[in-house]
Amino acid sequence: MKGAELLDVYLPRPARLLEKRRLTPHETWFHFEMDEAVALGYWPGQFLEISIPGIGECPISISSAPSNESDSRFELVVRAVGDLTRALHALEPGQRIGVRGPFGSRFPVEDALRGHDLLFICGGIGLVPVRSAINYVLERRGDYGELNILLGTRTAADRLFTDELYAWKKRDDLQLRETVDVADPSWGADVGVITRLIPRLKLQVENTRAIICGPPIMYRFVLNELKKLGMLPEHIYLSLERRMKCGVGKCGHCQINGIYVCQEGPVFSYADIAAVREAI
């Protein structure tokens, strides 16, 4: 048995930064490519373990939609909150990182969501993983029904992907509604919590599938509104944040009761976790 030949689930593979762009004072967008164009084979909703050796490793959601099965490029959006994310922000094009993954479950874009009206509900950087699903759907627009996107941010300055949001707003095959917690005088849209946008939607509820991602506090309020609309738990998908340290179902940090989020999540059908006490 030769050590080097063993498949090691903890071994990162190198990727190179192609370009980066500051989206807000705290969040930066990164475009990476795997060395030797190794295929990642990821799906919307999945995450990667990103390494900067010497600093560490942390789980980060993939924000791009895979263009095909052999896609070796991926996009991340990272908020600088810790040592590793701050080091990522300092990275320059051409520099490299380590990558493990992709890990976790996906938004069911190819099965449960296909052919249905979709309601995306995102709070803050919850848009980052959901953007992967939205762009996946937009590239195959004819395969899905009505498209509604609700977006809540703290202030207008915290909005991510403003170019894309502008482009979405101009499309006539989707409805984007936005709200901010705190508005300045130039803000022309809604102010207040994201749940206020839900009763105004004209949905065919039984044909609608909801996809939710946001800060921990957001879920119970949004779920409550969807319940009022009569939406079934099995028609609601949530992406849950936890501390997915190892990504392979061992280290224990991401557990919600008995569930390893890095294995069974981060995307869950609400029907599967409604009774799991630590989930929401």
């Binding site: 048995m1 050590g3 080097a4 063993l6 498949l7 090691d8 689930v9 903890y10 071994l11 990162p12 190198p14 060395d35 390494s51 050796p53 010497g54 600093i55 560490g56 490793e57 942390c58 908020r79 909150v81 810790g82 994310t85 490299r96 990182i97 380590g98 800060p215 921990p216 944040e241 936890r242 501390r243 340290k245 190892c246 392979v248 179902g249 061992k250 280290c251 224990g252 940090h253 557990q255 919600i256 009761n257 008995g258 294995q263 006490r277 630590e278």
Partner: protein, 346 residues
Amino acid sequence: MATKLIDQSLFQHWVRALIAATRVYAVQEKQNGFAFDALARAGDLRLDYDVTILPPKKYFLPQQEVLLTFDRETMSFKSVFDPEPFVLLGVHPYDMVAISQLDKVFAKDNLDQHYRVRREAATIVVCDVQKVSPNAFSGCMGQATMEGKEGHDMLLTQLDDGRYLLEAVTGKGMALFESLADASPADEKSLQAREEIWAHNRERLQQHKLKPAPSELPGLLDKSYDHPVWEERAALCYSCGSCNLVCPTCYCFDVRDELNWDMRTGQRLREWDGCMLREFAAVAGGHNFRAEEAARYRHRYYRKGKYSWDAYGEIACVGCGRCISACTANIANPVEVFNRLLEDDE
């Protein structure tokens, strides 16, 4: 089944031969207790121990291990494995059960090669309990003896007349008989004597009496999520994680990087972690998904009595009693918690 029945001097000869042939880790006296450590002399072996301070899981999941080395300049990573063979001598049955549970955990879904390489390099000699620790309750958990269990390579029992009965149960175990070629196999009488030791151990390894049957624990916990016992006991908890560290079935870990003096190369380390520690479920940005002591305390008991049952069909408490001894606040006795849940359920 291959057995040998040997007297004390031949046993000493056997241990010396093992030390000469391979790395041997065995139970020895350490300060006021006992610990597994590298065995240098046969005379240091203490099979009359009651319980070791740390469980032998440290030979498969060390307190700290290098998972890989890296080079920041070339962005290259290289796995580090430890395939050197060793004999682990004197593991008690309940600790062997715990190792077998870890085998399942580290093989499930994504095979952990670092664990597997160490595990396959090991030959495990289990030793029947000779002295009972004050907090032992493995008898209540059905884990006092190796009857009906596997995972070990050899079972060693000291009979009341001082002789040792060695039973090899795998090829690796058979290989340990090399220096005992002339020794005779165990006779009917000594095998009968061993049965009596097992029966005795099943009874006496019950220093705390668990009222529910182990198989009742998952159902009992299922009904007890909002039971006041979690708040009551956790109110005294220091969140020190001692119960995690001494537990033979706890396996949670953290991973961190260490940079060498050249600021270019370094290693990624895996270290023991514990779900009772305050920051265990905290994410970047500050949110802590198990910020309350009671939530962490309950989580630990659910992991032992329910989640492992749901995932592997096993109760992840083997009754070693180490957590009871290690807890400063005296709140970690699983028997007290489980008995309380049963009493309030009745």
